[in-house]
Symmetry: C2
Subunit: 124 residues, 2 copies
């Protein structure tokens, strides 16, 4: 897989989160992928768990997402800084996240790790 | 270790890279730490290899570094986007990097992974 294709997949992921397109997001993942969001919490493994996670996160209210810097491609991995805007208990807020994806040989996400903590959550 | 102390260590690392202070940088690392810079290249393991890496990178010419977004602390890890300004074959350039550090129980870096590729290198 080329660096250009990996960068495109990362950008597409942010567009799909912004659009709330869970099916589109799942199509980027390997069937046996592993999601840790945020890092330090128990990982979700496999399509069913990952689908439930995105439906819960994106299903309830409108979420906006946009990159806040360029995608970094290194080896079979890529990292990117981005912003998520959503409602948290009815309060509009912004979360600043860094996602790191590992790609498999088919060009799909084998793992996703989301780095963010309470200090990255800002009320608007 | 608190999230605040982890964030402070990440910010301190960038200040020390900016100052070219290799001894200060090494003091942030565990003795048996692992550095992969960029991700996808063979890892450097242990103080001697890591010291050589920073002397090579920071010793030859003035390097500047600054954060381009907030530190994200998650579990025992932290990630941050930053810029490195240096000379590459005599040509001033900027590299946009994301570093991910894993902390040990003593609050030192057990591992560092730097995500960047040729597409993140801009001539100035």
């Amino acid at each position: 897989m080329t660096a250009e294709a990996m960068r495109a997949a990362m950008q597409r992921y942010i567009e799909l989160v912004d659009a709330g397109d869970v099916d589109g997001i799942l199509a980027l993942y390997a069937d046996d992928a592993r999601v840790e969001d945020p890092v330090g919490t128990p990982p979700l493994i496999g399509r069913t768990a990952i689908e439930r996670f995105y439906h819960k996160g994106l299903g309830r209210n409108k979420v906006h997402a946009h990159l806040t810097g360029p995608v970094r491609v290194a080896g079979n991995c890529a990292a990117m800084p981005f912003c998520i805007e959503l409602e948290w208990d009815g309060q509009p807020c912004t979360i600043r996240v860094i996602d790191v994806m590992e790609f498999n040989e088919d060009g799909r996400f084998q793992s996703m790790k989301a780095y963010w903590g309470v200090d990255n959550l800002e009320l608007r």
